[in-house]
């Protein structure tokens, strides 16, 4: 029995660390961390990490492969968007589609080089890392005297990716947001119980009813807390909808589809997967095409939030995405890692960032702390794997 609890704790170690870190910063900031606006900030500031890290996760699953170029591509694609919308005054919908097409073209090129030409991913994407930052900057300086293109006048674009849904003044309870939270809670509880009931019916090994209740209660508490805090901060951030959609879609792909299964088996043993009749090159190609598409979505989110495209946009985003995956337990060698883990990892890094900013930690020290957190996560991962192996 005791062993079961230890196992459960181990499995959710990062989640527990996340809660502890949050409590730590709440105490350090004398409650400021727990204010409604900080919940809102946590989401709007880190939305890009969730989306980008989802793409990075898919790449990493195939064998620890990464994309170094995504941050620079955000800068480039932002510049393209700026030219289309602000300089040329193009319709927002059309601009979004064109940006997506540019992303798809880059994704196909990258996928072709990596999957069919066998160029190591970090080299193929290093080229993009260097080139797109330069190209983006060149586009910006050619079209603007300040080197930055503003989106402030394009409310049509901004409303799709930033701002609030059914917004209300801060401090007033936003009913829509709260209702959405309650609906989400109900769905989670129903799904949890149905899953267990189904397992019991078919006579499979199922978790105990106590554990299902505990799990559901914790999830509901977290969702309602978030919903309440966001309701007090003016409503649902539009970007949260995008993040949830992306996360749900990819959770489904990775856990329930054959396509997702192949990502894991390729990371575990590419040759065995190929000889099982799977077109492994196609999967690799798809991983990088997919990455580029998610990078395009990231670009929308980021340019809308800053209301501008500039030459420093997307700096170190690739590293943030990799860090979120690694902290979230995605294997650096491929073959294992879950979307939920990545979400926890990204949130943990976001909480640390926010907490340190609020407590006034020097920016350089923030980087040092983040470095050590990343290292600790990997060490933890390897020690856990070792322990499992000796069983």
């Amino acid at each position: 029995m005791a062993e079961k609890y230890v196992d459960a704790l181990k499995k959710n170690a990062m989640l527990i660390v996340l809660v502890l870190v949050y409590i730590f910063f709440t105490i350090m900031t004398k409650g400021q961390m727990f204010e409604a606006l900080q919940f809102n900030a946590l989401i709007t500031q880190n939305a890009y990490v969730f989306v980008l890290a989802t793409g990075m996760l898919m790449c990493m699953l195939t064998g620890g492969n990464i994309d170094l170029s995504c941050g620079a591509f955000v800068c480039f694609l932002g510049a393209v968007g700026g030219i289309l919308m602000t300089v040329k005054g193009m319709n927002a919908g059309l601009s979004i589609i064109i940006m997506l097409l540019v992303g798809i073209v880059y994704g196909c090129a990258l996928g072709f080089l990596i999957a069919y030409m066998n160029i190591p991913p970090w080299i193929a994407t290093l080229a993009g890392f260097l080139a797109f930052r330069g190209w983006g900057t060149a586009l910006l300086s050619a079209n603007s005297s300040t080197g930055s293109i503003s989106f402030a006048a394009r409310k049509d674009f901004l409303n799709i990716f930033s701002g609030k849904l059914f917004s209300s003044p801060v401090g007033e309870l936003n009913v829509v947001c709260l209702v959405a939270g309650i609906v989400a809670s109900v769905i989670v509880v129903v799904v949890n119980f149905l899953t267990r009931a189904n397992k019991v019916k078919k006579g499979y090994e199922a978790e105990s009813i106590v554990s299902v209740i505990a799990k559901s209660a914790l999830a509901v508490a977290a969702i309602l807390l978030f919903a309440y805090k966001l309701a007090m901060a003016g409503g649902i951030p539009t970007v949260l909808v995008w993040v949830i959609v992306v996360v749900l879609i990819y959770s489904f792909i990775t856990s329930k589809t054959t396509l997702g299964r192949y990502f894991y088996t390729i990371g575990g043993n590419a040759e065995a997967t190929r000889l099982s009749g799977v077109d492994t090159k196609k999967i690799m190609f798809f991983a990088y095409l997919n990455m580029a598409v998610l990078t395009a979505i990231t670009t929308y989110i980021v340019t809308a939030r800053f209301q501008a495209a500039n030459s420093t946009a997307g700096t170190n985003y690739e590293m943030d995405a990799i860090a979120a995956c690694v902290v979230g337990g995605v294997s650096a060698y491929g073959g294992s890692g879950k979307i939920f883990g990545m979400v926890v990892g990204a949130t943990l890094i976001g909480v640390i960032n926010l907490g340190m900013s609020l407590t006034g930690v020097d920016a350089n020290w923030q980087k040092i702390v983040k470095g050590f957190v990343l290292l600790a996560a990997v060490v933890f991962d390897i020690l856990a794997a070792k322990k499992n192996a000796t069983r």
Binding site: K202, Y204, E205, K256, T257, T258, L259, R261, Y264, T265, G268, N269, E271, A272, T273, R274, L275, S276, G277, V278, D279, G335, S336, T390, R391
Partner: protein, 515 residues
């Protein structure tokens, strides 16, 4: 008899939840070759890891007495400094480095600031001659064959001034000629006074070289046989290993109707994928009927695996020529998917390298080659997948608590069963089994043979590639003999003997040499 060189007393080693070694006692006399035999997972390798310090002192109970003194090895270096050197089953050589560099890896010649390359290569050459290799030590490891690499490992051990040499499955990847040479080398070293421990599954080798045999079963030493005091044959050793007598190593096949030709290969020629000039398979013709087991015997490097993989959706080789008939129809299979759809299965010889995803559970491995069978429009039916995995686990008697167990945690025999399950689930008509019993123990082998019998009874065709002669003769209805890329003989099982098969190979080698 000589004096005791090594004594391991009351060794107990536990892993969380498992007692790997239970009060083991093991004695080795100076100047003898001592064979350690036992089924997979019996604890042989664990015992050697305790001895060599891979499991440091303190992580096990018991005592190691070597040359009269009690030893407490913390690292491999400690044991090596005493002259105990272990050569592992998987070769630990760096392919891109020269023989000399490999030989002194971690033990470099020269002073502490610079490597003395003259001394390195000079000494390396000296040790190479001792193991009978004529290569220069400047040759890269990747440019010599597996047999020679194994000899380099031994030379490397000699360079460490080994007094007690431990060889873990030294011949598992060698062909018969190379194996024989290695065993003779061991006998030569024995004459010079070296003490050796050999771990092997090949019992004929044990009988050939060993002075004493210790049998390990379920983490304990069961008995030690002295080959000079009693008559030892393979059956006697098997009895000790499994704890009962196996009267027939190959199960009888009865009431199997051999039907029409199911697959036929004509004028099949395959070139090497990189050195495209080289013919790896040369104008091969063969067929297999329904309900028939066809054996393909050949030494390592004869082109058997290459033949099989080129048939299986051209997954090996370049400019493949020839005609393939499946079920009477001519087919052109361009990739493994098409081969699977044509109801061919290729069960690889290298289950860890390209057969199984070790980090994934049995369930995932079982369904991998036939995801359509457990999914609907790309969405996995988790219930069905689980049920299928359980069904095959029960059918093949795979020993595991649950199908959620990672395949990497299973023993070799059980891994092989999972691999077979994966391919049986694709519902093939023709199964090409490449070394289906390599590296698995006697009991598991018997079970695999039973599975093969069940398959042909169900009207399927089995092509069994093997380099174990008794197995080929014992299991096949018909045998093809392959050498240097060509089929050099075909015989019915009834007329096949070890002697005439080997003769077939020797003749073809001598006549084919002038090509």
């Amino acid at each position: 008899m000589g004096k005791i060189l090594l004594e391991m007393k009351n060794i107990t080693k536990t892993f969380p939840g498992v007692k790997a070694l239970d009060d083991v006692n093991f004695k080795v006399e100076e100047g003898e070759i001592h064979a350690l035999v036992g089924e997979n997972g019996a604890g042989k390798s664990t015992l050697m890891n305790v001895l060599s310090g891979i499991y440091p002192f303190g992580t096990y109970d018991g005592e190691i007495i070597y040359e009269g003194e009690t030893c407490r090895f913390q690292t491999i270096r400690d044991s090596e400094s005493k002259g105990i050197v272990i050569i592992h089953q998987e070769l630990a050589l760096v392919p891109q480095m020269s023989i000399g560099e490999n030989m002194f890896l971690g033990n470099e010649r020269g002073n502490k600031n610079a490597i003395n390359w003259n001394e390195t290569y000079g000494e390396a050459d000296k040790y190479l001659r001792m193991v009978g290799l004529s290569e220069s030590s400047r040759v890269l490891i990747k440019d010599i064959g597996t047999g020679k690499q194994q000899l380099v490992e031994i030379a490397k051990a000699l360079a460490k001034n080994a007094k007690l040499l431990i060889l873990d499955e030294p011949t598992s990847s060698l062909n018969e000629t190379d194996s024989k040479a290695l065993l003779d080398l061991m006998l030569e070293f024995k004459k010079q006074g070296m003490t050796m421990i050999i771990i092997t599954h090949k019992l004929n080798e044990v009988v050939y070289v060993a002075d004493k045999i210790t049998v390990v079963r379920d983490g304990s030493t069961v008995e030690t046989m002295n080959c000079h005091e009693m008559e030892i044959d393979e059956d006697r050793i098997i009895k000790g290993m499994v704890g009962r007598e196996i009267t027939d190593r190959f199960p009888k096949r009865e009431n199997v109707n051999i039907g029409s030709i199911n697959m036929e290969v004509r004028d099949w020629t395959v070139h090497h994928p990189i050195y495209t000039e080289r013919k790896v398979v040369d104008n091969v013709n063969f067929n297999v009927r329904r309900g028939e087991v066809v054996g393909i015997y050949g030494l390592m490097g004869a082109g058997r695996t290459e033949l099989a993989m080129s048939i299986f959706g051209k997954s090996y080789g370049s400019s493949i020529m020839g005609i393939l008939y499946v079920g009477g129809k001519q087919v052109n299979l361009k990739n493994p998917r098409e081969a699977i759809d044509a109801k061919i299965a290729y069960v690889t010889e290298d289950r860890k390298g390209n057969g199984l995803v070790l980090s994934n559970p049995i369930r995932v491995n079982t369904s991998l080659a036939n995801m359509d069978g457990v999914s609907n429009k790309g969405i996995i039916d988790a219930d069905k997948e689980y049920q299928i995995a359980v069904e095959y686990k029960d059918k093949l008697h795979t020993k595991t608590p649950t199908v959620e167990q990672n395949v990497g945690n299973l023993s070799g025999g059980n891994q092989q069963k999972v691999l077979l399950a994966k391919w049986m689930f694709t519902d093939p008509d023709i199964l090409i089994l490449d070394e289906p019993t390599r590296g698995i123990d006697v009991g598991a082998k018997y079970e695999i043979y039973c599975i093969i019998n069940d398959l042909v009874k169900a009207g399927k065709s089995v092509v069994m590639i093997s380099s174990e002669l008794p197995e080929v003769i014992g299991m096949s209805d018909r045998i093809y003999i392959m050498n240097e890329g060509k089929f050099v003989g075909e015989m019915n099982a009834a007329e096949a003997t070890q002697e005439n098969i080997m003769a077939c190979i020797l003749q073809s080698t001598s006549t084919g040499g002038d090509e």
